[in-house]
Amino acid sequence: MNLRELQVVAACLASRFGASTVFPLLQQQLDKSVEFSTPVTSYRSLQEGVFLLRNDFPLYSGGVVHHPPLLVAFMSSFNSTNLISLLYACADALIAYQLISMAKCFRNSPLPAWVPGAVYVINPLVLLSSVSKSSVVFSNLAISTALLSALQGNCTLASVSIAIAAYLALYPLLLLMPMLAILQKDKLKTVVVTAATLAMLLFSSYKVNDESWNYLFSTYGVIITFSKIIPNLGLWWYFFVELFEMFIPFFKAVFNLFVISCILPFSLRFYKQPFYAFILCLSWITLTKSYPTLGDGGFLLSFVPFFKPLFGYFRYSVISTLLFIHVSVLSPIFYHLWVDLGSGNSNFFYAISLVYALGLATVLVDLVWAMLRIEYDKGKPNIKLKLTPV
């Protein structure tokens, strides 16, 4: 680890921790904004869980707690706010460090290794998400740990991390499939270790939660059935608010299948570029999950520097940049117009959530296109050549 890399990690730690301590009210403000907090990731719901746990109230008998029991129990061991801020800052700094380590795994990388880390550190979406103390940080940490250890060939750590990520946020379980492609060998072992870890986590949660399985619905059931309808940047919320009652179960199944739909195709089609397939799957999940936040999107965008050789092939880079700027500027404004002022209606914010989905979709499409192009060019960029799919 050279000096520059150390600087990046230190900057990450300092910026997160500094922002939390210098602007203590920023956390509450961000935690209330729908862009950075959802019912299943918000810090206030985690705090409520800690409160209920400490006072022996029922944790998962209805109510607002949708975090897994072990996370709540873990957080209840911290008392000081500063310590918790430090914990979140450390988790974020660790992700930055892991991104740098990942860059080192690619020997013929055109960029210095510290660049992806630096991009992660200066990405405002990630910074704000971390300051809001959203539990997305922990699932992102688990995902990046899994990806790094898979790249390094550490099959046990990778499977344990992906199991933890799945335990925290459910959908990362789907990333097991592209991860198997990265690991190449010990596939059976990976699957078994992941399943065993997940089973162990679930069982210990059962024990922690007074021998009751009711946490399963409050944590994962809520994600799958989208039972807490609260506006977010995803595609689900307005659809299920406006949908006629009798079609809701059918469309919930359709939306869940939609999340799964592209995982296998990506893993198969880009079997030769497993890291790339992993990122594609991650972005597909970010696009289609039921409770997305900008924290997920920011985490995803930090992987884009890894694809520097593909940049030349991007067709919509201007459009997607504009779409992201459009979303980040207008989303708080339109939400405020709808909910606080009442001078706009829900369609304003709905439009923004569609734009965000379009932005993610253009990035995804561009990545796929660029990879197909470079495959055609057999690694030697020939940007002037015009290609078309038939």
């Binding site: 019912p39 307005y238 739909s261």
Partner: protein, 660 residues
């Protein structure tokens, strides 16, 4: 054939009446009954037999107490002259009207009706073969309902308006007879399990809904709570359990958005044996009652058992607070008009002419009649009850109260009047100093609750408690919140100028979080509030978005949140409710369903379709693609080829023509 069947039906009916009336002496075992009254019953039942035979064609089996009265009175000329007047028929019914002037020209009126049912035996069902039950003053409509749903206690409140406790003092009956704004219902139900109890509760609510013409049927699991400690249950030990394997469940629900209106009063009066036609209930007119500043209708039924014989005790209260000058002015001019110049009372110390006038404060003299306040006179006494109807005025020396019988005024020492006969009565009330009223009883605790925050996605609840007394107040704070208020109990904070901590005040917390569409939040604090302090408890909540169809009509009006119940247990026993709240939720655009389905599906389809397209198709250069498309394999190429051929042939033809 039909007439034969009809005749047979009437014969059966007649036999039923005979068997019923002959068994009347066993059933009519009313406690506290004078010996003479017992005799009267027997003669009455004999009379009923004869009268029933005449009246049966119109009334069938519905031998209500009134018919009994009519029969016994109508047949006094017959030879059975064991009694002279109807006064000797006594039923356990008691009614009283109490008037109490309040400060600032307000007047509190309380109509009290107490009645008891006849004894019935535990385990004997009404539907049993040869079971017979006689209803005297107890309403026939309630008893089967209570039996069917195994309800041992029933409490129903219809309340509307604001009780100004700062100037009016304590609520009547220590607050136990008035609910929060809207409808409040709670009952003690005997059942084997909670599910059975809930099932009975729902059927009770649905039946009451029909009985009282109100939307009590909107009570669902979403609104129902099972309070652990709630004042009516304090005397639980006295509640009978008919089947020892069962247990008792206290179930409660409130509908804050239910408007209270005339159609609720009529069924209330119908439960009375006098039906609002005689006695003090003849004063009650929907227009006047619901024109008052505060009104409350309450119904309480309790089961009391003694050695296998049980009895329902029922209390009905209709209470209201009028602004006397306003009500009198309304009686004179139903359509409000500006005061005539000649009637203006201007302050002579200030300039006044035809254009300007500084009005004097309201006159302290007053003189009015009850008939002007209520629009009616009292039509006689309730002649069937054990006690004659009573009218009492709770006033100070500066007030004079007279009763007007046949244009003659009478007064009494204690300002209580007994209405004995069936002629019209009126009350004449006058005062030289309306501000001199009976000292209101001090309030042990003031509680007010309000919503904080401005957004439609989150907010806070803030409850201010003020103990004005010199004694520590022990109270229980009970709150039910709908599931779409997602409360964060961890955000509970306390503000206090006296440096109190949460632990000093909240002794005990019961918290049952809400389950979406199934259960409301149930929050109960045991509080200990030190003397002469005030403190505010507040906590935050998020508002959920509802589904399209779950919003009521006029969704932007907001949702009524029912009042919290505060039960003071020490130093005195008192119950009060906070006012209801109006919670506004963010609403979707109700005209959008198809657009949303189409737009979201388009974006999803666009992403999926493009990716799928890229992944399954083969990449080739544009030139190659062009050359492929120009080959004859594709339909377009074929079409182009055919078109080209036609063009060429036509050109050939042209060329040939030219050649020619």
């Amino acid at each position: 054939m039909r007439s034969l069947a009809g005749a047979f039906f009437w014969i059966v009916l007649f036999c039923a009446v005979i068997t019923a009336t002959t068994s009347i002496d066993e059933d009519l075992n009313i406690p506290n009954e004078a010996e003479t009254a017992g005799n009267a019953y027997q003669t009455c039942s004999a009379e009923c037999l004869s009268s029933a035979s005449e009246e049966i064609s119109t009334d069938g089996l519905e031998l209500t107490d009134e018919e009994i009265k009519v029969a016994s009175m109508g047949n006094t000329s017959d030879s059975l002259s064991l009694y002279e007047s109807s006064e000797s028929i006594k039923y356990p019914f008691h009614e009283q009207l109490t008037l109490r002037p309040l400060p600032r020209s307000f007047m509190f009126a309380s109509f009290e009706f107490l009645m008891r049912s006849n004894n019935f035996t535990v385990g004997e069902k009404e539907s049993d073969f040869n079971a017979y039950r006689h209803y005297t003053v107890f309403p026939k409509s309630l008893s089967p309902l209570l039996e069917y749903t195994q309800t041992r206690q029933l409490h129903l409140r219809f309340t509307h308006g604001r009780w100004d406790s700062e100037s009016w003092g304590q609520l009547p009956h220590e607050g136990r007879k008035s609910g929060g704004t809207g409808v409040e219902l709670w009952a003690v139900i005997e059942a084997g399990s909670k599910d059975d109890a809930f099932h009975n509760w729902i059927s009770l609510a649905n039946s009451l809904s029909g009985l009282f013409c109100s939307s009590i049927n909107f009570i669902t699991a979403e609104k129902t709570t099972y309070p652990t400690s709630y004042s009516p249950l304090s005397d639980e030990s006295s509640l009978p359990i008919f089947n020892t394997s069962n247990s008792l469940f206290l179930i409660r629900a409130a509908l804050a958005n239910e408007p209270i209106c005339t159609e609720n009063l009529t069924p209330f009066l119908k439960l009375l044996p006098t039906r609002g036609r005689t006695g003090i209930s003849s004063l009650l007119d929907g227009h006047k009652l619901f024109d008052s500043n505060w009104q409350s209708l309450s119904l309480d039924v309790e089961t009391h058992c003694n050695a296998g014989k049980c009895q329902y005790h029922m209390e009905q209260f209709i209470e209201m607070v009028f602004n006397v000058p306003n009500s009198l002015a309304r009686a004179d001019t139903p359509i409000p008009k500006p005061v005539q110049e000649s009637e203006l009372r201007c302050d002579p110390t200030k300039p006044h002419d035809a254009w300007q006038c500084f009005p004097l404060p309201q006159s302290r003299d007053t003189k009015f009649r009850l008939s002007k306040l209520f629009g009616r006179k009292i039509i006689g006494s309730s002649l069937i009850s054990e006690y004659p109807s009573k009218v009492c005025a709770n006033v100070t020396d500066s007030w004079k109260v007279f009763i007007d019988v046949n244009d003659a005024l009478f007064s009494t020492e204690d300002n209580c009047f007994t209405i004995k006969y069936d002629n019209e009565h009126d009350l004449h009330i006058e005062s030289t100093d309306t501000s001199n009223v009976v000292e209101p009883e001090p309030i042990p605790l003031f509680v007010s609750r309000s919503l904080t925050g401005y957004g439609q996605d989150s907010g806070g609840l803030r409850t201010v408690f003020r103990n004005p007394s010199n004694e520590t107040v022990e109270a229980s704070y009970f709150e039910t919140l709908p599931w779409y208020m997602r409360i964060y109990l961890s955000s509970l904070t306390m503000e206090s100028v006296d440096g109190l901590e949460i632990e000093d005040v909240i002794q005990n917390t019961y918290y049952l979080p809400a389950v979406d569409r199934q259960r409301p939040t149930h929050l109960n604090f045991k509080l200990l509030i030190p003397p002469n302090t005030s403190l505010a408890l507040s906590y935050q909540f998020d508002k959920a978005l509802l589904k399209y169809a779950e919003y009521p009509p006029d969704a932007n009006h907001g949702f009524e949140i029912e009042s919290a119940v505060v039960t003071v247990t020490r130093p005195i026993s008192y119950e009060l409710r906070t006012s209801t709240l109006l919670l506004s939720l963010s609403t979707p655009d109700f005209s959008m369903p198809y657009n949303v389905i189409i737009l979201t599906s388009t974006v999803m389809g666009l992403a999926f379709g493009t990716l799928f397209n890229l992944m399954v198709k083969k990449l080739i250069t544009v030139e190659e693609a062009d050359s492929r498309s120009s080959s004859s394999t594709s339909l377009k190429a074929k079409l182009a080829g055919i078109l080209g051929k036609i063009m060429r042939t036509s050109r050939k033809v042209d060329v040939e023509k030219k050649h020619q």
